[in-house]
Symmetry: C2
Subunit: 461 residues, 2 copies
């Protein structure tokens, strides 16, 4: 029969003297009860279904975003928390408009429609749309080499594909995002009239994947759309056979006046140190073409569910734990900025902040950003508690777009890391639906986040 | 700038003196090239689509199984391997028959059809089917407590659900499999006329999940079907309102005479020690109601793809590497037994054997079964190479049903471990289709298997 001591070692997986005392066994049991509760509950999953199906397309400034604010506010109001409030924030109000469409016109192959979608922030083409010849490039260097002579009055087609052979899909994404974010501004420098950008996804599909783009001061603002990967492959193919083909598209985006919106915040007041704040959150807005299930309704519902689990298991944290639904991550990050501004203005004392905004796929671990090396090592060593749940990839470096502005007053930023294999199949597209959520994957993540919050608060790092 | 030495340490992740020499950097590069090749290739994925769509329901003895043998044989024949052959094996030939159906008949609630499926090995009810009262239990203890008086001439309904709150779905499965494998024999001891068993899956769905069952010598053989989890919940609910309801089902299974089938084997001959054999494989058969995408067409195609990768990258293993498509894992494991028998008869020298039969979901790592503790520790320490690919869960204990019979002549058995969150949504059901396969998840696994085979062969453990 195993001794008590060897059971602890077994549970911890790795012998780490810091944790070898009677308390740790208690922590193991608390974590076990958190996992049991999270996996046994369908509350967050069902709430996510409601959010996806009833506030679809909740981009900042939209009526759907306002509905999402109301829904999550009421959700937390019913949870017996210590306080729930709305934090006002003015947000941008970009609207896609109707009737986006595109087609390829070739005197050799004929005419074919292709799926496109305006990039977030794009201007519109006007009623008549744009028809022009098209020049395909894969980099800004190619653009420069072609020069004004070849680019002027043309549509530039950025067709650099995400590299499926990289071990990280996020790395593949970051290596191709330049064409989406800065393609229009660069192309306009050479006189292009518009840009069409290949969707940032690894799979061949008919879904265009949108995302934010930026114009540059003093450079003409030209319309920018993404095209589905299947559409991009077809266009690439037709261009080989007919380099003189014409591309037509129209879009009708407009930037409306800013509107008032809100971060939605709920908290459990700390038992010992109520003035020290732990923030966990996700962003409530999504792109206007999407249910925003993985990006990031899932992260929001996980954050709220951590508070539910604490309440149901009578876990009374020493510090105040807040679930924050940030508004406007996708467009201008006003919610995250506002939250940090208010925290600074009120001289709030922030202990750590954690964001879940990489999908609610099967968990891998957490990434930590902090300056203090010893503290970092202590945090990384907590991964022994997560080995039984295969969520023990703890690494240096991690945050979230919404908690990043907090970095000056919050010493520890943490990013939740789920598996990345499938994320970009959904990201910023109409394919990011509730049906792509697996209850178990989501709740294994919720349990991991709740357990980490519990442990860091408990150990007083 | 980082020194060469620190780059090696960085790549290895953990400082392990065993691996700190110039060669290791080379190994890192080989592994990187394996991942690049695997992720960049759609060959195995496309072959799996063919297998799923054209040999669906390939249970041992079926024409579809014969087609799967022919398909994989031709596949490997076209691959420029050193040899490809069929290993004859006589297999059982159980056939479900047509027109399986079931319904609940309640004088209070009415009549409703529910989805059922015979368990593998079940006898049939005969033309008229069986109609009887039904007794619900969750354990053999309950069965015993009820006794002959309450069970005789009844249908026993085993309704123990898989526990979704356990951290491992395989553990949840193993805790409920008794009712499927032995339920009929136990119920028959008390005079039951048939059994209906709750499907072994965590989700609520309309798919019945079949699987093997066993009769006992000297105990009457009574028909056994599984019911979908939605059906089981409905039956449970109706029984509460009308304990006297009648259950009707008919099935028409028959055990036909054994037929000749084959394991399909392809090999690359070893460069230095051709007489030492490394076996990697999966099972070619599937349940007759299923495309067998995750179970286990995926494992088969991964194994063949390892040989393709070795060939394309000019990796010449020291030892002979065999990809084996085992026949008849689901019914009587004849293929695995035959392979081990032939290996023993020919005095083959087996170095290690690895099986992929837990789905081709996102990779976690490998499990190792071997007696030599030092050798085990060396194998476990190889996980440093897999950290960049998040496939570094290396643990003691692992095998596969088909390689298990080899254990007497093969010192190392290895089981591939993918993520288990979604596996039982598909397992043994018509829901296990090619559409549930994600190319990247499958090929991250293929790369991990190829890399492990390469490393173990290279290091001469």
């Amino acid at each position: 029969m195993k001794s008590f001591f060897s059971i602890i070692i077994f549970l911890l997986g790795i012998v780490n003297p810091v944790f070898l005392n009677g308390q740790d066994f208690k922590q193991e049991l608390v974590i076990k009860s958190i996992y049991k509760n999270a996996l046994g509950s369908r509350k967050a999953y069902n709430d996510l279904r409601y959010l996806c199906k009833n506030t679809k397309g909740r981009i900042s400034g939209s009526p759907q975003a306002a509905e999402a604010v109301e829904f999550t506010y009421q959700l937390m109001k019913q949870m017996n928390l210590d306080s729930v409030w709305l934090q006002p924030v003015m947000v941008k109000n970009w609207k896609r408009g109707k009737n986006e469409k595109a087609s390829i016109h070739s005197s050799i192959m004929g005419i074919i429609e292709v799926p496109v979608l305006s990039l977030g922030g794009s201007v519109g083409t006007g009623e008549k749309g744009i028809t022009a010849g098209i020049v395909e490039v894969k980099s800004f260097e190619e653009l420069e080499a072609l020069g004004k002579k070849k680019i002027k009055n043309k549509i530039v087609f950025f067709n650099k594909a995400m590299d499926p052979t990289l071990s990280s899909t996020f790395k593949a994404y970051s290596k191709t995002a330049f064409q989406r974010t800065r393609g229009a501004a660069e192309a306009a420098k050479y006189g292009a009239v518009a840009v069409v950008v290949r969707s940032l996804t690894i799979v061949n599909s008919d879904f265009p994947h949108t995302g934010i783009m930026f114009y540059e001061e003093g450079i003409p603002e030209i319309p920018a759309v993404v095209i589905s990967t299947n559409g991009a492959n077809l266009l690439n193919n037709w261009l080989k056979k007919d380099p003189g083909l014409q591309f037509y598209f129209e879009n009708h985006c407009e930037l409306w006046p800013e509107v008032l919106s809100y971060n939605v915040i709920g908290e459990i007041r700390g038992r010992e140190r109520p003035d020290e704040i732990i923030t966990i959150g996700g962003h409530l807005d999504s792109w206007d073409n999407s249910e925003g299930a993985h990006d990031d309704g899932g992260g929001c519902m996980q954050s709220i569910d951590v508070l539910r689990i604490f309440n149901e298991l009578d876990i009374e944290p020493k510090r105040t734990v807040r679930a924050v639904m940030f508004m406007d991550e996708e467009y201008a990050q006003r919610g995250g900025q506002k939250y940090a501004e208010e925290a600074a203005r009120k001289n709030e004392k922030h202990y750590f902040a954690l964001e879940s905004d990489a999908g609610v796929l099967t968990p891998r671990g957490f990434g930590f950003s902090l300056a203090d090396e010893k503290r970092l090592q202590n945090l990384l060593s907590l991964n022994v508690y997560f080995k039984p749940y295969k969520t023990n990839l703890f690494k240096e470096g991690g945050w979230g777009v919404d908690i990043y502005p907090l970095r000056h007053i919050c010493p520890i930023l943490i990013g939740y890391i789920p598996d990345d294999s499938r994320y970009f199949n959904y990201h910023h597209s109409a394919n990011d639906t509730f049906e792509k959520i697996n209850h178990r994957e989501m709740q294994m993540g919720t349990a991991a986040i709740a357990s980490l919050v519990y442990l860091i608060d408990y150990f007083d790092f």
